[in-house]
């Protein structure tokens, strides 16, 4: 049960993010979560959106290089120590986290961790076995 994340290649130039948002604003795309990883010359914008397929095609039409990748959306209580619990679980299970980002879901008050693993399926099993709820693609689009 994984969620499709969109990543976009961006050069480190003023105005490039604005070009992305401009491309997305007219096609009913709502960005649920967003993060940027950057190196000296370029960055990778990663997003969870309500409609990944439309977002990809809109961005491609606008000339961006775009990819869709599976990430896990782990729903956890918003409390002290929860991050350590998750990290501990991953460490013990030998899961290597490529990167992660998180946000608080307003209605439920739960925290959602978007996590990218080398092996998505193995990670999925570890979380399920330890009683964590993973959001489905549909749920992630609706949050």
């Amino acid at each position: 049960m994984n969620v499709q994340q969109i990543s976009v290649f961006l050069e480190n130039k003023a105005g490039r993010l604005s070009d992305v948002s401009a491309a997305l604003k007219d096609d009913g795309i709502n960005i649920r979560a967003l993060t940027i990883a950057e190196s000296a010359n370029y960055g990778v914008l990663r997003m969870i959106v309500n409609n990944p397929d439309v977002a990809v095609s809109v961005l491609k039409t606008a000339g961006f290089v775009v990819k869709k990748n599976p990430v896990l959306a782990v729903e956890v209580d918003d409390r002290e120590g929860i991050l350590h619990d998750i990290m501990n679980l991953c460490g013990t299970a030998g899961l290597n986290i490529e990167y992660m980002y998180s946000f608080i879901e307003q209605v439920s008050g739960k925290a959602i961790l978007f996590m990218r693993f080398e092996g998505t399926e193995a990670a999925e099993k570890v979380f399920a076995d330890n009683g964590f709820r993973l959001l489905s693609a549909e749920e992630a689009c609706l949050i």
Partner: protein, 432 residues
């Protein structure tokens, strides 16, 4: 000092006579001994007997670099292999290397022409010559070496690189002459300044610089920083190596050793020989080489010739330093680089037609090459480390292919300017 007074100051009439006589002999020789040339002569219907004077050279076929590669390794030999005592080749980065095979007489010729070169800049037996051209297959190192020995100078075969040691040697051995690429001389100057070396106090007097394009501005900078006279020298592996042409003390255009290496300027499109003063493609014929004589080699370098008398007393034709190329070749740190080589590497890495641009600049007096590559779906990943790994991989493969380091910069699609749909492949910011 004029090293070979007889040939370097020969009256024009006598010189053209000598050239004609040598051309007849070489045409006869390659026709008889090199099947490659025989078939080229036959294709044009030219017989060696048709060559009566140097003016008849226009009847002979041109030779291109590609043709020379096609007959790699020994197809240009005009003597038994047992008479060859040394072999050099071009770097071979764009295909098979071009082979230059030298008989004992050819090595003598090379030493003589480099002796002329060094003497032109005032070097002699009292000089201590620090030879920082690379030794090996590259003709720069050994060419300068043979010349230095011929004039009786004390040659230090330090080869290229290891700048700290270059500085130590300049100081400790009191080198009076330096031979290397012009950009490396500036690099040495800069490194010396940082070490607190006062070049005014060093015995270094003169430098002989070539193997890459440079300019009068660069000369002024080298002379100012190293406190020397800087001379431009010219040569190419296909002909003999360095020692084809050089500047005299007037530092105004390069004297071509035309009694041995006969130059022509042609229209690169029609092949027609152009008069003095007109710019065109430089073509060379070796008049005296034994091992691998070359008939009308098209250098793809653009320049012009002049036979105006030179105050130094030499009568030889002079050429302007190379003004450009008829192809898209770049010279980066003395290494020939073609955009097509970069393209080959990128096609392999990306699996598709790449969009790229080469940005050449000179930083801290060294040429640097940046290869901008438009990002595409094959190269892209959501993980930075994967992108960075691919970047490094491409850099590595480019190094293997070009023999010179480059930095890869990934840019967004369509960000490389296209004119008439075609990307401009080269941006040279070196101002040389």
């Amino acid at each position: 000092m004029i090293w070979d007074k007889k040939h370097e100051t020969m009256p024009r009439g006598e010189l053209t006579g000598l050239q004609g006589q040598r051309l007849r002999a070489i045409a006869q020789k390659v026709y008889n001994r090199v099947p490659f040339y025989k078939s080229k002569f036959d294709a044009l219907g030219v017989k060696p007997a048709d060559i009566r004077s140097i003016a008849d050279i226009a009847a002979l076929p041109f030779t291109t670099k590609d043709e020379m590669r096609d007959v790699y390794p020994y197809g240009l030999l005009a003597c038994p292999l047992s008479d060859i005592i040394e072999i050099h080749t071009s770097s071979g980065t764009t295909g098979k290397p071009v082979v230059d095979a030298y008989t004992r007489a050819d090595i003598d010729l090379w030493g003589e022409s480099m002796a002329r070169t060094l003497s032109m800049g005032g070097a002699g037996k009292d000089d201590i010559l620090q030879n920082a051209y690379g030794y090996g297959l590259f003709t720069g190192g050994l060419g300068a070496h043979y010349g230095a020995q011929r004039i009786g100078a004390t040659c230090i075969p330090i080869s290229g690189g290891n700048t700290k040691r270059q500085l130590d040697f300049l100081r400790d051995f009191g080198s009076t002459a330096l031979t290397c690429t012009p950009s490396y001389s500036l690099y040495i100057a800069e490194a010396g300044r940082e070490e607190g070396i006062d070049f005014e106090k060093l015995p270094l007097k003169r430098g002989f610089f070539g193997a890459e394009p440079w300019s009068d501005n660069m000369r002024a900078e080298i002379e100012e920083k190293l406190k020397i006279k800087a001379y431009d020298i010219f040569g190419l592996t296909e002909i003999i190596g360095p020692g084809v042409a050089a500047e005299c003390e007037c530092q105004n255009l390069l004297h071509i050793f035309e009694d041995c290496f006969y130059p022509e300027i042609i229209n690169p499109d029609t092949g027609a020989v152009l008069p003095d003063g007109e710019k065109g493609e430089l073509v060379f014929t070796t008049l005296t080489k034994e091992g691998t004589p070359v008939i009308r080699y098209r250098t793809r370098d653009i320049t012009y010739l002049t036979r105006e008398p030179c105050p130094c007393g030499r009568t030889s034709v002079k050429m302007h330093r190379i003004l450009g190329r008829t192809d898209d070749m770049l010279i980066i740190r003395g290494v020939n680089v073609f955009p097509s080589q970069v393209e080959q590497v990128l096609i392999k890495a990306e699996g598709v037609e790449p969009h790229y641009q080469l940005i050449v600049d000179r930083r801290d007096n060294l040429d640097c090459l940046e290869v901008q590559v438009e990002m595409n779906e094959t190269l892209f990943s959501d993980e930075l480390k994967v992108i960075e790994h691919k970047e490094k991989e491409i850099e590595h493969q480019l190094k293997e292919a070009l023999l010179v380091h480059s930095r890869v910069k990934l840019v967004e699609p369509k960000s490389i300017a296209r004119s008439e749909g075609k990307a401009k492949r080269i941006v040279d910011k070196r101002n040389i």
